[in-house]
C-alpha cells in the first residue's frame, strides 16, 4: 500500500464512510501498523474542530449509573511491560487506600437541604421539591393527570446556565426522586416541569409549555 493509499484509507475511516467490515479490518491493522495508526491520529486531529458543529445535548440522567454498572467488573486497565510494577512491590493495597482517600477528599462537603414549591402558571402550589446532597425528591401537592398522549418532563437550570438539563420524565404517582449525574442541586437552581411528546423532548431542550416552576433555596430560611 502506498503512503497515499494509506492516508486516504485513514481519512475515510475518520470521516466514518468505511463500511463495518472495512472499519473493523482497519482497526485490526492499526494495532500492528504504526504508520496507519499515525495517519488515523493525524486525521482525527485535523477534523476534530468539526465536532463543535454538533449541538450539545444533555444525555439521559440515568446514563452515568449505567456506565458505572458496566465498568463494575473492569479493574484498572491492564498495563503491559513493567511501567507500573507497584503491585509486585506490595504497594497495590496502599494505592487502593490512596484512591479511596482521594475519593473521600474530592467529595463535596455535605450541604444543607434545599427546597422549593413548584407553582402552576396561576401560582397554585403543585409539587414540593426537596434536595439533599445529590438527590432531588418531589411530592405532588395536588395530583392531576397529564394531558392524554403527552408526558411531563423534569428539568433543572443551574444559575448562570444557558440551557436546562433534563432530569427525566415524571413518573406516574405522586412521589419520586432523581439523582442527576451531570449537575448538583444548588441554591438558585430553577426546577421546572414541561409538557412534552411521548418519550420526552426529542431535542433535549423543553419544547412544550411549562406546567410548574420553582427556584431552589435553603430550607427553613432565606
Amino acid at each position: 500500500m502506498t503512503p497515499e493509499e494509506r492516508d486516504g484509507l485513514a481519512a475515510e475511516y475518520v470521516l466514518g464512510t468505511l463500511e463495518a467490515r472495512e472499519a473493523a479490518e482497519l482497526r485490526r491493522r492499526m494495532e500492528t501498523d504504526a504508520e496507519l495508526a499515525a495517519a488515523v491520529a493525524g486525521w482525527e486531529r485535523r477534523l476534530a474542530p468539526l465536532l463543535a458543529l454538533a449541538p450539545p445535548e444533555a444525555p439521559p440522567p440515568d446514563l452515568w449509573a449505567r456506565i458505572e454498572r458496566s465498568l463494575g467488573g473492569i479493574a484498572a486497565p491492564a498495563r503491559t511491560g513493567w511501567r507500573f510494577p507497584w503491585p509486585a512491590l506490595g504497594i497495590g493495597a496502599s494505592a487502593v487506600a490512596a484512591g479511596l482517600a482521594a475519593f473521600l477528599v474530592l467529595r463535596p462537603p455535605p450541604q444543607a437541604p434545599l427546597m422549593t414549591v413548584l407553582l402552576t402558571s396561576r401560582d397554585q402550589p403543585a409539587w414540593l421539591v426537596e434536595a439533599q446532597g445529590d438527590t432531588i425528591r418531589l411530592a405532588a401537592l395536588n395530583q392531576r393527570p397529564v394531558e392524554p398522549g403527552r408526558v411531563a418532563q423534569l428539568w433543572a437550570l443551574p444559575q448562570g446556565a444557558t440551557a436546562p438539563t433534563s432530569l427525566g420524565l415524571v413518573p406516574e404517582g405522586g412521589r419520586f426522586s432523581v439523582t442527576p449525574t451531570t449537575l448538583r442541586p444548588t441554591p438558585g437552581m430553577l426546577i421546572e416541569i414541561t409538557l412534552e411528546p411521548p418519550g420526552g423532548s426529542p431535542t433535549g431542550r423543553p419544547t412544550g409549555p411549562i406546567l410548574f416552576i420553582g427556584r431552589l433555596s435553603a430550607a427553613g430560611g432565606a
Binding site: G16, R46, A58, P77
Partner: protein
C-alpha cells in the same frame, strides 16, 4: 496539560472518580456528537455508554502530543456512534423529515471550534467546492454513508465517493 488530559491520565490509572469528572465535564458535548449521528436518544445513550466504557479501558492510549483530549474523547464517542449506525443498517436511507430524522445539515461553518486549528480548517473547507464540503460535513457530523450522501446531494454514488476523496486530499494539502 489541560484538565481533561490530566483526567485521562488518572483514568488510565483506574481512577473512577476521574472518569466521573470527565463525564460531568463532557457528557453534554459528547451526547450532542452522538445525537447528530444517530438522531435517536436511546441509540445515542448506547453510544455514550459504549464510548465511556472504551475511554475507561483505553485512556492509557491517549497521547497529548498527538492532539487535544477533547478531540480524543470526541473521536472515541464518534466511532462508538458510527458502529451503532453501521449495526442498525445505515445503508438504508432513513432521512424522513416527518420522523424527525433530518440531519443536522452542518453547513454552518461558523460553529467550528475556535482556536488555531479550527480557524485553519474552516478556511480550508471554505476553499472547497460546495458539494465536496457538504459531503465531508454530512459524513463527519451527521454520520451519513456514501449512499445516503449521494441521495441527499442527488448525485451518483461514484461521483460522491470521488468528490469526498478529492475533498480530503485538498484539505490535507491545505492544512499541511
Amino acid at each position: 496539560m489541560s484538565d481533561a488530559a490530566t483526567l485521562l491520565s488518572r483514568i488510565a490509572g483506574g481512577d473512577r472518580a476521574a472518569l466521573q469528572s470527565l463525564y460531568k465535564a463532557q457528557s453534554v458535548r459528547l451526547f450532542g456528537v452522538a445525537m447528530a449521528i444517530l438522531r435517536d436518544r436511546d441509540a445515542a445513550a448506547d453510544a455514550l455508554h459504549d464510548g465511556f466504557v472504551n475511554i475507561a479501558r483505553r485512556a492509557g492510549q491517549f497521547d497529548p502530543a498527538l492532539g487535544a483530549a477533547e478531540a480524543w474523547t470526541g473521536a472515541v464517542i464518534r466511532h462508538a456512534a458510527l458502529d451503532i449506525a453501521r449495526r442498525r443498517g445505515r445503508e438504508m436511507p432513513t432521512d424522513d423529515a416527518t420522523l424527525g430524522d433530518t440531519p443536522v445539515e452542518a453547513t454552518q461553518l461558523d460553529a467550528i471550534a475556535a482556536g488555531e486549528e479550527g480557524v485553519r480548517l474552516r478556511s480550508c473547507l471554505e476553499q472547497l467546492p460546495e458539494k465536496n464540503r457538504k459531503g465531508i460535513l454530512l459524513a463527519f457530523v451527521d454520520g451519513l454513508s456514501h449512499p445516503q450522501i449521494a441521495a441527499r446531494l442527488e448525485l451518483p454514488l461514484g461521483t460522491v465517493k470521488a468528490w469526498i476523496r478529492r475533498g480530503l486530499l485538498t484539505l490535507r494539502e491545505c492544512l499541511a
